[in-house]
């Protein structure tokens, strides 16, 4: 009775509606709405497999439900025939799945090798995983940045990735599948966006306390915009002179004296050779997110973050510097000048 009710056509429509509802939502990490050739080739492969699976699903569940309804014990059911097997049938249902799988295997293997190949004319970008943020370096342009990966929309990008600490997993669902970042080993991933847009990234591999907040953004820009962005990034920040009395200049003093320079770099203000453990802040103000892309870049969030970073990202390596309210305000004013 219950089953019959559930499977009434009218009710099925609701079930289907719910499913559709789940699919049309605007989910920024949706892996089923590809916006680049790599993700699209994966998507096509997925749907081929999906529909084959749906057919097999329907056959098996159909046979199961059919048996339950038709062969259910009734007062007048005769004792069943004692059938021990049927070699012909068993061979058939061994061979048919083999053929189906072979049909799936061919495009699978082809796509594996397609995705691994280094694209021509690709821009090389280094991705370095840290607990819990992604660092990006552009060796061709001498740029170091964090959290927001900026790519040209008109050409593919080849990411060369490694980790500074534990395993991470770089994932921009709308552009490609995932790839590990491994300490002591270089891995590669290709990205290519159809058009200028913003995409979400997320660390896939469990990497400790703030794994869930290790996120990112990918910004694909048109040719001119990208060139302009590169040019801007290559510029150093302008240091305020020590007799400047503005709030931002005061913030620079806080930055220099409170200990921020132990871990951070702002080119032109506090240059150091080699890598530091925290994000390069030279053009902090033009990134729309910070703190591993866990927070939107606005004064309110910055206040929360600077007051106690570990409350936002448990386990973070940024200490609570016990800054006063006025120091925080000055620092925020300064950070906003880093365009």
């Amino acid at each position: 009775m219950l089953i019959k009710k559930v499977f009434k056509l009218k009710n099925l429509r609701y079930v289907f509606f719910l499913f559709i509802y789940s699919c049309i939502e605007n989910a920024p990490l949706d892996s089923l709405s590809p916006e680049g050739p790599y993700a699209r080739s994966i998507d096509e492969l997925f749907w081929i497999t999906f529909w084959i699976a749906v057919v097999i699903f329907a056959i098996v569940q159909g046979a199961l439900l059919f048996s339950v309804f038709v062969y259910k014990e009734k007062p007048d059911s005769p004792e069943p025939k004692q059938i021990h097997g049927n070699t012909k049938l068993e061979i058939i249902w061994t061979v048919i799945p083999v053929l189906i799988l072979a049909a799936i295997a061919v495009p699978t293997v082809r796509t594996i090798f397609d995705l691994a190949r280094e694209p021509e004319n690709a821009l090389k970008i280094e991705v370095i995983g840290h607990q819990w943020w992604f660092e990006y370096k552009y060796p061709d342009y001498g740029i170091t940045t964090a959290n927001v990966l900026v790519i040209p929309a008109d050409r593919p990008v080849r990411l060369e990735m490694w980790s500074n600490d534990v395993l991470h997993n770089y994932w921009v669902p709308k552009l490609n599948g995932k790839r590990y970042l491994v300490p002591g080993q270089t891995t590669y991933l290709n990205l290519h966006a159809d058009s200028p847009n913003e995409f979400w990234a997320q660390c896939g591999e469990y990497c400790g306390l703030s794994h869930s907040k290790m996120r990112g953004r990918v910004l694909s820009l048109s040719e001119e915009d990208f060139a302009a962005w590169v040019k801007n990034e290559q510029k150093d920040a302008t240091a305020f002179s020590s007799d400047d009395l503005s709030l931002a200049a005061e913030g620079q003093q806080v930055y220099l004296n409170a200990g921020c320079t132990q871990c951070h770099v702002i080119n032109g203000v506090w240059d150091v050779q080699g890598d530091r453990i925290a994000p390069n802040l030279t053009h902090f103000a033009i990134r729309n997110v910070f703190a591993g892309a866990a927070l939107k870049n606005n004064p309110e969030n910055l206040t929360k973050w600077l007051a106690n970073p570990a409350e936002i990202k448990p386990g973070t390596f940024m200490p609570n510097l016990e800054l006063t309210e006025s120091e925080i305000n000055a620092l925020i004013a300064y950070l906003e000048t880093l365009k």
Partner: protein, 660 residues
Amino acid sequence: MTKIIKPGKQSSIFRRPSSETGIWSWITTVDHKRIGIMYGYAAFFFLLIGGLEALVLRIQLSQPDNNFLTAAEYNAMFTMHGTTMIFLAIMPISAAFFNYLLPLQIGARDVAFPRLNALSFWIFIFGGAFLYSTFIFGTAGAPEGGYLSEEVGWLGSAPNGGWFGYQPNAGMKYSPGTAMDYWAIGLQILGIASLISAFNFITTIINMRTKGMRFMRMPVFTWMTFAVSFLLAFSLPIIAIALFYVTFDRKFGTTFFLTEGGGDPILWQHLFWLFGHPEVYILILPAFGIVSEVLPTFSRKPLFGYAAIVFAGFGIAFIGFGVWAHHMFASAISPVAQAGFGLSTMVIAVPTGVKIFNWLGTIWGGKLKLNTPMLFSLGFIGMFVIGGLSGVTHSVVPADTQQTDTYYVVAHFHYVLFGGALFGIFSGLYYWFPKVWGKMYNETLGKLHFWTMLIGFNLTFGPMHWLGLQGQVRRTWVYAEETNLQFWNIVVTIGAFIIAVSIIIFMINWIFSKRKGEKAPFDPWDARTIEWTIPSPTPEWNFSKAPEVKALDDFWHAKYEEDDEGRAVRKESAEQLLIELEEEGLNPTENIVLPNPSYFPIVLASGLPFLGYAVIYKSIPLALIGSLLLLIGSFGWGTEPLEEEVEDEEDNNEEYLDNV
């Protein structure tokens, strides 16, 4: 009066325990049935704990950016949920079935090594207790140099590196404190328990089958026990070595998996999944066995393609060792390796499909009795197929790089391990309930349990498919509101609580039926295999005399013959046969020798946690205590008197019987 022969005068310094009731009789028992029951209850206890951990996780995820749990607590909870469900719930519940049923299905009096069997159980208990003592003694914290804004608390001081313990995150630098040591050493201890029982079952199946019980006449459940035992024997040594490496890395400064010392974190993944994938089949094959017993019984038809099902089981077990890297498609393995492991993963779908089609062939054209065990077995097929098909989508490597590490995978393996293994286990619990307790369970409550569990299960794990495809990563303490994932997360949480309700219904049914259930008839299901030829509850001596088996499904053939059309016809002699069997089963006419209880399995097992603590705290005194217990245990084990030889010392026996 029954004639159970107990040992006569004892000459050794150690006397064998003699309690037959009360707590000591359970502690010292070597009876496979009692050990099976204890395994079952202990595993169910851990299943409840693992379930509570899951509910806590679901409360946290019911809202975006929730702060019901701290990150440390959340990470500890999902680590312990996975570890508990796999190593302390599903594996030992399967062990409970093996223990109770294996000797009965092959017509043996006990397993080959009864004391080893008890040892295996007690090591499991001490291993589980050791692992869970982390909530009291364990410590965890931020990675070296990192900051926390609040105390970790007792809930967060459990292991937090995931049940997979990926390196180097689970190493000392990134997971300081002792919690992950409890995890590594706890699993090591539990592994010993499983290894011991694996060899015990292999020996039992090879050597102790009753007359006429040829391999190709064994029930499929026994076959699957056999396959699982081999899987355990070959896969556990791999994880044992890997766990030793981890413990050495963490405690003694080696660098097997640490890049800075020339080690390789990916090596851990290879070792872990080389164990971990066969482990999946260790969890699911027992359920395959149970379902292969239940479906024919309630379809009143023989299993369709018995040989195919048996060999498919072994095929799965064998290929299961060649697919491990499909857990690592996102790591940097080469395209050739990706293609190879993708193809081998597709191949394993073939024998799995054979099983499913053969089960469908079994119910097709049958006369289906839709009682609780049958419903769970049918539910098993329906749910397992979904898990199997989503598994095939993982073998499509590029697609898997989108799915891996998301809730899609969580959905997949819960359809396999919950919709598959656990549904099969519940089917078996209801099916053999009358055999174990001599009572009938309540059918109405049983069906209510099934339907609530089926609905709750699908509400919980169905939406996880699209949650994962829409970008919800695994092990995520929080998710941002902008990801638009909240709606289905609420549905999932509601589903999880419906499952909790269904488990409560199951417990009520179990407790109520065990106390006040109707007395079970001699052959309640009109069953097929020889464990139903003995009275319920099973007498202490199992079979009053060794049965002789003439065919596959021997008991069925004793009751039924086929007419010209091939339909089953009950023999006239069947009723008489049942009466005789019951009479005979309760009143053995020949002397029966049962293995004697022993104190030493528990003594020996109790040494292991001390050795574990000794490594964690680098304590010589604890190491000495542990070693001493091991030594006393083994010495006593070796020197306690054996049971008397019946033939040779008849006088002694008569004297004993006179004393009784």
